[in-house]
């Protein structure tokens, strides 16, 4: 598989095959992220298309100071926001706890024991078997939590890359991520904790 800098070099030379390879790699993750930011699938597709146009036009200016992925998602977030966003950009992130306070007693200890999943080490080995359950739970997350967890845990961006892409502080990025992971954990627990 060709490295990204090689593909970008070819794209700068107007190589269509390199463009198609990048599209194959990123189109679906981009659509998924865009869908969390705009009111409809059609608008999300428009944002993604605009983004590719921005990439083709701007690739000469991309200096590789951030990763290509970060640059790409950042363009996408800007396009999606300018296309009429359904997210509340200026609503502050709720600093409250991620885990339901009802789960703890007055001294702050777990009121009920946390049941280990069937076998946490097995669960990790069988992580892929959980993909459908996780996918469904992702769809149920509030948009901002979904954006962060998609970029961090699905796409593998770092915390600082995500805060740059979404234009939020590192701390808020982490708060949203923590809340999202906690909800995914609850979903897996509800599904029985075994694949």
């Amino acid at each position: 598989m060709e490295t990204e800098p090689e593909l970008l070099e070819r794209l700068r030379d107007g190589d269509e095959e390199a463009f198609v390879m990048l599209v194959d790699r990123y189109q679906q993750p981009m659509l998924r992220l865009a869908c969390t930011m705009v009111p409809s699938r059609a608008v999300a597709e428009e944002a993604v298309q605009d983004t590719w146009m921005g990439v083709v036009r701007g690739v000469h200016r991309f200096e590789g100071r951030s990763s290509f992925k970060t640059w790409l998602f950042r363009i996408l977030v800007n396009r999606a926001r300018s296309l009429g966003t359904s997210e509340q950009r200026y609503v502050p992130v709720d600093p409250g706890p991620a885990v339901d306070p009802g789960r703890f007693d007055a001294a702050g200890a777990w009121a009920e024991p946390v049941e280990p999943w069937a076998d946490a080490s097995d669960a990790r080995l069988d992580a892929a078997a959980w993909a459908p359950a996780i996918k469904a739970a992702l769809d149920g997350l509030p948009p901002r939590q979904r954006q962060v967890v998609l970029l961090r845990d699905v796409e593998g961006l770092s915390g600082s890359e995500v805060s740059a892409v979404l234009g939020i502080s590192l701390g808020n990025q982490r708060l949203l991520l923590h809340r999202a992971r906690n909800r995914l954990r609850e979903a897996v627990t509800a599904a029985g904790g075994r694949a």
Binding site: Q27, W52, M53, V56, G108, V114, W117, A120, R124, R185
Partner: protein, 87 residues
């Protein structure tokens, strides 16, 4: 340095630190308190393991492959862009 007793941090506080802990965002002192608590607390230790398992599970979620139609549409657009903007 003084070893802080487990009750220095309670479960409800510990679980809220998990993501900061995994990101390496805790101060050295906070990290020590967190690790001391989890080591002695089977519930928080199970919680931490489950969050780590969730991260692994989420990492296996791959977007569906791109449909040939969608790829063709974009290729057509690309050709048009290149025509419009020969760069």
């Amino acid at each position: 340095m003084r070893v802080l007793p487990r009750h220095d941090l309670h479960c409800q506080q510990a679980v809220e630190l998990v993501t900061d802990y995994l990101d390496g965002a805790l101060s050295r002192r906070q990290r020590r308190r967190f690790e001391a608590h989890v080591k002695d607390c089977p519930n928080c230790s199970a919680y931490l393991e489950q969050i780590q398992a969730v991260i692994a599970m989420t990492g296996t979620v791959h977007p569906e492959d791109l449909s040939p139609q969608a790829r063709d549409d974009l290729t057509t657009l690309y050709r048009r862009w290149r025509g419009d903007d020969p760069g």
